[in-house]
């Protein structure tokens, strides 16, 4: 019996290590997309090319947003609606305003159009989003909540801190 329980513990440890190792090495939130870029360079994988937003960079570095935008939006919606915290950095209307894509008529397209910023990747990845069943997918002229240009000052350290926070909250 004792031998069997020791064996069980050893097996569990091995499995644990196997799970942890790739998780640990691939866990870097900021460095996750090098494989993506390399694949595209080698012509192996077709990748989506979402339209660039206005300004120099997003509210967080692009690599960070690519991996974590959904978590940021999830946290933000709880903050705004439940707590009443009205910061604008991760507002969905900020995303929609900044990443507006114009259609053939010169007007911003809605989520129904495959060219819509969010759809470019979400169609590619076959991930359904329900945001625009309620939220407006087109920028609104009267919107005051869009991120201001001075909000865009996120640097690498800021992103790393945020990534650490997200890993912590995921546990």
């Amino acid at each position: 019996m004792r031998f069997l329980s020791k064996l069980l513990v050893a097996v569990l440890l091995l499995v644990g290590a196997a799970i942890t190792l790739p998780g640990g090495s691939a866990g870097s939130v900021l460095g996750g997309s090098t494989a993506w870029a390399a694949d595209e360079g080698a012509g192996r994988t077709p990748v989506p090319h979402p339209a660039h937003g206005k300004g120099d960079h997003c509210v967080m570095p692009t690599e960070f947003m690519r991996r974590n935008h959904m978590l940021m939006m999830y946290a933000h919606r709880q903050d705004v609606l439940v707590e009443g915290i009205r910061t604008t950095k991760f507002n969905i209307s900020g995303c929609v305003n900044c990443h507006a894509v114009k259609g053939e008529d010169g007007q911003p397209v809605s989520f129904d159009d495959p060219k819509h910023f969010c759809r470019t990747c979400h169609t590619y990845a076959a991930v359904q989003i329900d945001c625009f069943e309620c939220h407006n997918s087109k920028p609104q002229a009267s919107d005051k909540s869009a991120a201001k240009s001075d909000d865009l000052g996120a640097d690498g350290a800021d992103a790393a801190k945020m990534a650490a926070f997200l890993r912590e909250t995921k546990k």
């Binding site: 903050d79 439940v82 707590e83 069943e133 609104q140």
Partner: protein
């Protein structure tokens, strides 16, 4: 079973009668002489808003006082302003029309005295809609505003059944071009938010702004601040809560109801 009429006996209305007349009235009124107001953009703060990063706190409780002596039967300005600001409209089917706020006429059958009153979510301190919600979507914010978190609403409509004021509506059809301040979609329940986004920006609710330009019957403010306009008015005017017998402690109060 005892009668379910409560605080409004003098107006000759029990709950059923009040709500029935509410539906009928809202369906027939055609808003004569209503002025449209545009909101947003450069509007001055009516009171000091808290900083954006600060959460709502229970140090405040937002409420309304409605002085029915100043509320005229023909006026529908509060309803129109609410529709305009929050982007809800009649669907053409009276039985499923959303009604965040409606004008109700109350008539005392003995004396014939008529009163006209706007009825909306009463923002109860002990909201029955929150008690019955199976997902926690129906919620009360720390500062007393009762809201629907549409992210988790499954559209079961228990809250609509539980609300004694019929303040909630169900969205039956797909929505498009929603207002940024009020995202809304099919299959969820909605109701008066007391214009929570305006309050967070230091502005009064849309209905109050519109009413100020008409009769000035609506007074908005912090019930916990003894110096606020609403608290001062409450000390002067005798006021009533609708269905006070239910003990839900509404944040909306009516002066000169009878």
């Amino acid at each position: 079973m005892s009668s379910c009429s409560g605080g409004d006996e003098k107006a000759g209305m029990d709950r059923r009668g009040l709500l029935q007349s509410a539906g009928a009235f809202a369906a027939t009124i055609l808003a004569p002489g209503v002025t449209l107001y545009a909101f947003g953009g450069g509007e001055a703060e009516a009171f000091q808003a808290r900083p954006p990063e600060e959460p709502a706190s229970s140090r405040q409780r937002w409420g309304l006082l409605i002085d029915l002596n100043k509320c005229s039967t023909g006026c529908n300005a509060c309803v129109t302003a609410c529709k305009d600001y929050n982007g809800w409209q009649d669907t053409g089917r009276a039985d499923i029309d959303p009604q965040w706020i409606r004008k109700v006429t109350l008539k005392d059958p003995q004396t014939g005295v008529e009163r006209s009153a706007p009825v909306m979510c009463q923002h109860c301190a002990s909201p029955p809609c929150v008690d019955v919600c199976p997902t926690g979507a129906s919620m009360k914010r720390a500062d007393g505003i009762v809201l629907v978190n549409k992210h988790v609403c499954i559209g079961c409509r228990y809250c609509m059944m539980a609300c004694p004021y019929k303040a909630r509506s169900f969205i039956h059809e797909d929505e498009s071009d929603q207002k940024v301040n009020n995202p809304s979609g099919k299959g969820t329940v909605e109701g008066c938010t007391l214009c929570v986004d305006r309050i967070d920006a230091g502005q009064r609710p849309a209905c109050v702004e519109a009413c100020a330009k008409e009769g000035g019957a609506l007074i908005f403010g912090d019930l916990k601040d003894p110096q606020s306009e609403i608290s001062q008015a409450l000390r002067k005017l005798p006021s009533k809560k609708l269905r006070a017998d239910l003990g839900v402690d509404p944040g909306v109060q009516y002066a000169n109801l009878t």
